[in-house]
Structures are given as structure tokens and as C-alpha cells.
Symmetry: C2
Subunit: 373 residues, 2 copies
Amino acid sequence: MSIQPLRVGVIGAGTVGREVVRAFLERSPRLMPSDGAPLVLTAVAEKFTERAIANGIPEALLTDAPAHLVASTDVDVIVETMGGAEPAHTLVAAALQHGKSVVTANKHIVAHYGPELERLAREAGVPFRFEAAVGGGIPLLGPIAQDLAANRIARVRGIVNGTTNYMLTAMTREGRDYAEVLAEAQAKGYAEADPTADVEGLDALNKLVILARLAFGAWIDPAAVSNRPGTTTGAPGLPGITGVTAEDVAALAAEGRVLRLIATTRLAEDGAIEASVVPTAVPAESPFGRCDGVLNRVEVDGLPVGRVAFEGPGAGGPAAAAAVLSDLVSIARGLGSTWAGSPAAAERSAIEVRPVAGECVAAPSGACYPVGD
Amino acid sequence: MSIQPLRVGVIGAGTVGREVVRAFLERSPRLMPSDGAPLVLTAVAEKFTERAIANGIPEALLTDAPAHLVASTDVDVIVETMGGAEPAHTLVAAALQHGKSVVTANKHIVAHYGPELERLAREAGVPFRFEAAVGGGIPLLGPIAQDLAANRIARVRGIVNGTTNYMLTAMTREGRDYAEVLAEAQAKGYAEADPTADVEGLDALNKLVILARLAFGAWIDPAAVSNRPGTTTGAPGLPGITGVTAEDVAALAAEGRVLRLIATTRLAEDGAIEASVVPTAVPAESPFGRCDGVLNRVEVDGLPVGRVAFEGPGAGGPAAAAAVLSDLVSIARGLGSTWAGSPAAAERSAIEVRPVAGECVAAPSGACYPVGD
């Protein structure tokens, strides 16, 4: 009784991809689910082949032509861990069109091209999984789509970007200013040389779009998600945490509050989806206030379940690779897509998206930060 | 294009069962998954039919003969929400033998008869789901089995019994003694008239056995799980929280520690499984120390993911019913059993079970409570 193995091609052997490859090279027994097809790594596409070889990836597996991989008849499943917009988006779309299952850790393409990629996966009848795109190795999307399926979810909110949480934690604890903690985060490798995606909230915003897809069954447009707090003048504030000052942090601390970059999405009574990613003033002693450093925490409020929360390290190559590998195992076991059999998402054009409504607290910089609990 | 509906029979219309029935009567759209078979309630078996009618269950659905229901050719899925050992165990086993899918919220029968029930489900090729048995509506078992599948799990520990956590929280905050807080918990409905299952740790122990099945792929014997702390004399202490005194709580508080009934299971290096459910002295400022009242919190430590945590209300009819209904939706979507395609569990006899090893701290009562972090 032999089951045909699933042949896996990995595109992108960077931080996450090389950990996925390593698990295959170490012949992890978890990649051979007893009730499913065994998984076999057949190729790795990487532009920087010399670095890949230095990282221990056998030359025999390597190619620098990912477009060939997604079209190859020798590959059943594509793992996309190259990141970024293009060519990742085109490659993943092509893989699905060629009838290949896809696992990706790429929050950008899932958030921005989700409607297209979901449609292609459904048309081809192949699974499309992306658990690693949100919260690293923390189970989030699967539990929302499957284990909470019978609940009516009203709100999802969370700290989903470790870099900004590390920076806000350092500003709060040490009273230092934004530029100083950013430089430190860059020196420690927590922030990139170009920190825009993190500090302006774009990374968190992509993750919020994906969470909203699972919670509300709709792909909202990332461009429609607010990433600026209000101001005392009524003008929009600076994006993400870029406008947060040491004075703001100190003034809030005097009231027992700390700033956290909270991504929030809520289903309004009129059917619109509210979505914002803004620095939020939460009680220092609240679960979000105590969520320090690079930890992630996501809370899901639903009926009848109440509030459930998920916590863990939201970043790091090995943790994200574990989520990718778990998605591969789910495909081998025939468990389908991350949306777990839920209905096709609503048309993006059918959904009104607006900022999350609520009170805000004025700070010395002129920003008016939403008040959280 | 019509899909044959799945006909559901509910056994036991108590706290959880009547909420399941209510969702059907309210025609929740979530019970009609677009990619799966619609779910239709066809019968409710309940001994106390008059109470069931008073609770709004239509007489036309009611029967007082659950044994007929599990054998009926008019039922495809059995929901067992009667609780307790017998006849629940016999009815669930019979349902599986008749080729019916089963969803249960009954931690006792899953923990005590898990090996038999898993074998029957596998032999019949039908799904057997029991997410509601641990942590109420908090997604725990599915995420461990499926979303964390590629990790090697080293330890699972948690506060999984709301009654004892409510009591320990009250003893800590108010300095009151055990008998007084037990009486109050009973008056408020948090503890049963016979509180043995909660206060001796038996409820938590059943949940730990189920968590260990998903984390380690083995059904451990509930009788092999330690539920007594050590003592300064070396003799075993009293079971569960029954030996905890106000003096113990005060002495630990002076050291910044609080007692929590922590269920812990760990995979030892020699392949044995360590498992204990004992009052544990944790730092007051730790996540477990801050997990107050009837909240549940479960932490899973794995490689490479690190530590992920799940929190939420671990009890209550509506929350547990939501887990039951989500399991039904998973069955309608063809997603299989709670073990999510993982290998058949190891034979119970092949597993050595011993108490969790570690340091303990001596308390005035003579108990020596394990030290947690």
C-alpha cells in the first residue's frame, strides 16, 4: 500500500525558506504523515545560489529559475518563501494556475492579491495555505477558520508586529526617544535597514487584512485600512508609530497607559468592516499592555465563545518555517486550504471599509491615540 | 447541485446540549457550510423530557431512548452532551460501531476510553471530534493536532479548570480559607454540590490526558497521572487543591508567589511521559499567576515554534456548544477527526507515565508545592 509522494519545490531560501529546506534535509519524521502522502523536497529556487550552498542546500536541488519550477510537471506543491510583491505574486498565481498546491509565508501577496489567489485556488481545486503569514508559528488562521467556525466573530485585534512592539516597549521602559530605539532595533536585527513596512504599520496592516478574511469572510483592500491616529486638529496623524514621541509615552504613563500598535478589525452593525492599525493607549496592566518585546498577542471576540487569545513569538525563521511545514502536512493529509471549507470570500467591491470608531486621548505631540482596554 | 444533508442526533439536552439544539432551532447559517453538507437536527434524546420541553425543545424531536438514536438509520452524526461515564461511553462506542460520526464534549469518556473510541472511529472510517472536551470554546486540540503538526512538542501545561482557579484566586485575594471559598463557589454555581471532580483535580486530569494525546500521540492512563503534591515528609499530599490552606497561600504570597492548579505533561528524554495535576507555586506576576478567576490558559512549548499560549473562558454552556457546533461544521466540510490525520495513538501499555519532575517549595501545611514559572 504505497501512497504517491507529494513533490515539493521551495522558492526562496532566505530566513524562512532555508529552515523549511533544513527540515527536509534532516528527514523530519513529521514530514511523513502516516495517514497522508509523504512529502519529498525536489527543488529549491534561489537567486543567490552561492549563499544557498553556503547555507547547506545541496547544489543538486538548486535552480535559479523559479518560473520553471512553478510550471514543472515534477513538482506538486510550491512553497513560496521569497517574500515581497513581485515576482512572488506572479509565481504563486502561475503555480495555482498550473494546478499546484501552494503554501506561502508572504503576507504582502496574500493581503494584496488575496481575492485573485483565492479564486485561482478554487478554480484549480487545489489547496492554498498561508498560516505562516500572520503570527509566525502561532496558530491563528486555522483556529479562526475551523475551530471557531460556529461562532459569529465580532472583532479581532492584536499586536502582530514584533519590531514596533519591541520599540514601543523600549520607549516605555527606558524613556528613550523614537530615533534612538529605532537605531537600536536596527543594530539588533529586529528592524530592517528600511524600516518603513514595520514602523508605518504596513506589515501589521497586511496581517490584519488576512485575519479579516478568516474572521469575516471578506478580503478588504489594504489601501482602505487606516494606519494613522487622529490628531487634536482633526488632520490625520503620522503613519504607524512614526509620530510617537518620548513625551507622548511619558504623558500616557502618568495615566497608567502604554502605547501598543494594535491592529483592529470589527464587523459593524451595518455590515461595514472597520479596520485600523494605530498606536493605541492601553492600560499598562492589561494583557496588551503586558505584552512586551517581540511577543505577539491576538484576541478574537465572538459569540457565543467570548474572548479567546493567542500569544507567542510572532517572528523568526524557525517558527515561521514550522507554520509552513504544518501547512505542508495539512496538504499531505488532504485538509484543504487555510479557509477550511468556508465559503468563497465576498467581493472586495461589496465591502465598505472604514476606520475603527472610538474615543481617543490627546497627547503632547498633537496625536490623539485611540483608547484600548 | 444538492448535497445530501447530514442528519444530527443530540444525546443529552443539559447545559451544553440545549445550546447546541438552540443553534439548530434558530437556523444558524453557520450550520450550512457552503462547501459542505448542510446539517439538520433530526432528534434529541433526553431523559428529562419535560424539562427539555420547558427549555424550548420541540416535543416532535424528543425521545427518551438514546440507544435507539445511536442505532437509527435516520441519523448520520451523534452529538453526545450527556456527560459522565455511563451510559455515555457505551452509547458513543455503539454510535461509532454503527458507522456514525461522533462529536462529544465529554472529557471523562475521551480520557478514559480514548484508545477504544479512537480504534472504533478508525475501524469505521468515521470522524470522531472532541474539541469541546478541553478548554470549552478555546481552540486547543485542533491547533495542536493540525496547525502545530510540524513541531516537536516538549511540554503542554495549563490552567484548565475554572472552578479551582476561581477558588484559588479568591483565597489569594481575600485571604479566606478553603471551606469558605468552596461554599461560595457552590452558592454561585461555579462548583457542583459534589465538588470532588473539580477540587481533587480529576476534571483537569481528564483534560490533560486528552491534551497529551494530541501533543504526544499517546493515550496515557488517567489513573497514572499524579494529582497530589509532595510533602515535607515524603508522603503523598492531599489530592488536587483539597489540602491548600490559607496559611500556605499567605506564606507563598510573602515570596511573591501564588498557587494555581497547573496540569502539566512533558515528554521526557527517555520517551516516558510525565504528567501531573497539582497546585503549583508560580510567580504572582507570571502569565499563569495573572490568570484569574474562571479563565483558562494553556501553554504549548515546541520546537521550533517556541512557546505559544491560548487563553479564554474554559467553561459555560454556550462556549462549549460553540466548540461542538464547530466540530459539526468540520465534519460537514469533510475535515475528519480531532487528531487531524495524525498517526494512530501509541498503545497505552507501551507508554511509561510518571509524575512531572522538579523542585518544590515547602508550605506551612506540610505540602511541598512544585515551583512553576
